[in-house]
Amino acid sequence: MDFQIAMLLGQDGITNGAIYALLALALVLVFAVTRVIFIPQGEFVSYGALTLVMIQAGAIPATVWLLLGAGLLAAALDVRLALRAGQPGRLVRLLGWYVAYPLALVALLYTLPVKDFPMAAQILFALAVVVPMGPLMYRLIYQPIAAAPVLVLLIVSVAVHVAMVGLGLLFFGAEGSRTPPFSEARFEMGPVMVSGQTIWVVVSSLVLIVALYQFFERTLYGKALRATAINRVGARLMGISPALAGRLTFFLAALIGALSGVLIAPITTIYYDTGFLIGLKGFVAAIVGGLASYPMAAAGALLVGLLEAFSSFWASAHKEVIVFTLIIPVLLWRSLRGRHVEEEE
């Protein structure tokens, strides 16, 4: 191993680490606010990337039908509630978001020549299809059981993951796909060539992390989420709706997931089930942060990325073993160091 190889591996590790960091942040966020261990986080990566692929191929992404279906279901539930509560005024807004929005998307995808649009516009379309599934998922699946114990929420997460992987196979088929890179540019950094896409990934991740930080520090909604994360009951007493907090959290999680997918689709081949493994590595990173600390989770993600890159060089057959075994010393260290708090309020 010489310096050049170390540099290349380091570059590779940082690129993957940046993606793991984003997913780790989303996992920590979702767990802090809703106590859900969000296993389907990775599925948004695949859905985001493969929806973009379908849009670029000139097909109507199958995910839009899922969005419409979930929207109709949510509308049925909420319209009934609104009528029972005697608030017919809410109907317009409900139907607008749940039904009219997906229908409008379908209409746009059918009529506009999205295939020939610039890549940025195609990405926006892909995000517009995939990201709203986050809040819808919260509304349909997690909101009715919001008060359930963590274990129940975990089991439900596993079920959602399995269902989403199955739907992914149905939507996208078994074979993988790639998207063209954002830029073909290459830069020389010392002895190593760095591709433009790598820089895109790292910079976008940093921008996204800073934006999230600003969101939590400066905006009312961000502060509301933080308040919910710190003390759910207290936040509720202050007039923060837990349902709103949950939907907002899932919106962010879906956004981060789909964006990660779009970012890495040009570097690697994405399959309908790729997201799970990426999400799992984000999960290892989140565990490093104790599912609570954002900076620690990001640092853990970098560690996972680098460990993965270097172990793929030295012992490629055992790479996954090495990466996932990391969780044991980390847990040992955390449980020896941290004080024990009995679970459940």
Binding site: L169, I278, F310
Partner: protein, 382 residues
């Protein structure tokens, strides 16, 4: 009293009618979901195209999905045999599943034709495996073809990168033993996972070993990842792939990075380029035409053709068995097994099948060709 007699009479007639027109029941288990879905889906599609009558008898196909899972494959097989009373089991897609099914079919005396590659499924033919046949070429046949091509084109050193699973390990075993015999030097041996997002580490190590050629042993689109990484890092030597990549999705994903790649494959992949005198050409084109008529141009894959060949074998053997016994009986299943073992010079999509009591695969050199990727298409190497 009268009513009861007539009921019995009707029942008796129904039974007699049933016995006279016993359908041939074919049980199928494929891996249409899970990790092997890219192989299982075209196979599943293929069963829908198979003949609905053989030798004047109606054929019912009962197709189940085993999700690439060994336990599910065994469960499916038990269900097919005990509930659906099938006369033959076709499947499964992957080797671990097929190996696990052997005990079940042997116990009930039901013939089985596998669509998985491992030679261990049918070798050696023993008390249990005498019920088992398979259609895909052995990895050994394919790796011999690669090594022949390598030595003929002056390759001295070769590096290997394969899936970190049974497929990659199996190939490494076969390839390294043949390479050793032919004085090819293996200079690096790496593994990667189907779902990996990066293979930079492995690729750097391969390139550092400076091999004349690199063999990538993966199946489907995941095998494109190392090849793209090799090109990105400036590797200029020969790159070989295995027949596991022979579908059009691989060409789509790999794009221009796969120009010049060499691989061994069943003749069905380049059927239209075969010489007219080649006996496989006609049967291979028949399959391609049927499949593409149902699923669109360019949709055909060599994996589906393995499934097609199970049907070809069944259609060749069943008429013989029908002469001896009625479907649905133990005698018929035994007769069907014997007939399968006596299949001679039957052209399928992947080659010419000639079975014997010691060879339950029955394919020879005519079942493989070397193919090169040129201008984004498969080209027969003459």
């Amino acid at each position: 009293m009268k009513l009861r007699t007539s009921v019995i009479a009707v029942l008796g007639m129904a039974f007699a009618a049933g016995a006279a027109h016993a359908d041939i029941n074919v049980g199928v288990t494929v891996s249409a979901t899970g990790p092997a879905a890219s192989l299982g889906i075209p196979e599943k599609n293929t069963f829908a195209l198979m003949p609905t009558t053989i030798g004047g008898e109606k054929v019912n196909y009962i197709v189940l999905d085993d999700a690439s899972d060994t336990t599910a494959a065994v469960k499916n097989t038990r269900k097919l045999i005990s509930e659906d009373k099938v006369d033959i089991v076709l499947g499964s897609t992957v080797s671990p599943n097929s190996l696990a099914m052997i005990d079940v079919v042997a116990e009930s005396g039901t013939p089985m034709i596998s669509m998985a590659a491992s030679a261990r499924i049918v070798e050696p033919v023993d008390d249990k495996k005498r019920w088992v046949f398979k259609t895909p070429q052995n990895d050994a046949q394919m790796s011999t073809a690669i090594i022949e091509h390598m030595t003929n084109s002056g390759v001295k050193t070769v590096a290997f990168i394969g899936f970190a699973d049974a497929y990659g390990e199996g190939w490494y075993e076969q390839f390294s033993s043949v390479a050793d015999a032919r004085k090819l030097k293996l200079v690096a041996n790496e593994r990667f996972n189907r779902n990996d997002t990066s293979v930079t580490g492995q690729v750097l190590k391969l390139i550092a070993a400076r091999p004349d050629a690199i063999l990538i042993a993966g199946s489907g689109t995941p095998a494109a990842l190392p090849q793209k990484a090799l090109k990105e890092r400036g590797y200029t030597g020969k790159i070989y792939q295995t027949h596991g990549v022979a579908n059009n999705d691989f060409l789509r994903v790999c794009g221009k990075d796969c120009e010049g790649t060499l691989l061994p494959a069943g003749p069905v992949l380049v059927a239209s380029q075969l010489a007219d005198s080649n006996p496989v050409k006609k049967s291979a084109i028949e399959y391609i035409t049927k499949y593409e008529a149902a699923h669109g141009k360019g949709s055909v894959s060599t994996f589906g053709a393995h499934a097609w060949d199970t049907g070809v074998l069944l259609a060749a053997a069943a008429p013989e068995a029908l002469k001896k016994a009625k479907p649905g009986t133990k005698e018929f299943r035994t007769a069907l097994r014997d007939a399968l073992e006596n299949v001679k010079e039957v052209p399928g999509a992947h080659g010419i099948f000639t079975m014997s009591p010691t060879d339950h695969l029955g394919l020879d050199q005519r079942s493989r060709v070397m193919v090169q990727i040129q201008n984004g298409a498969w080209k027969l190497v003459k």
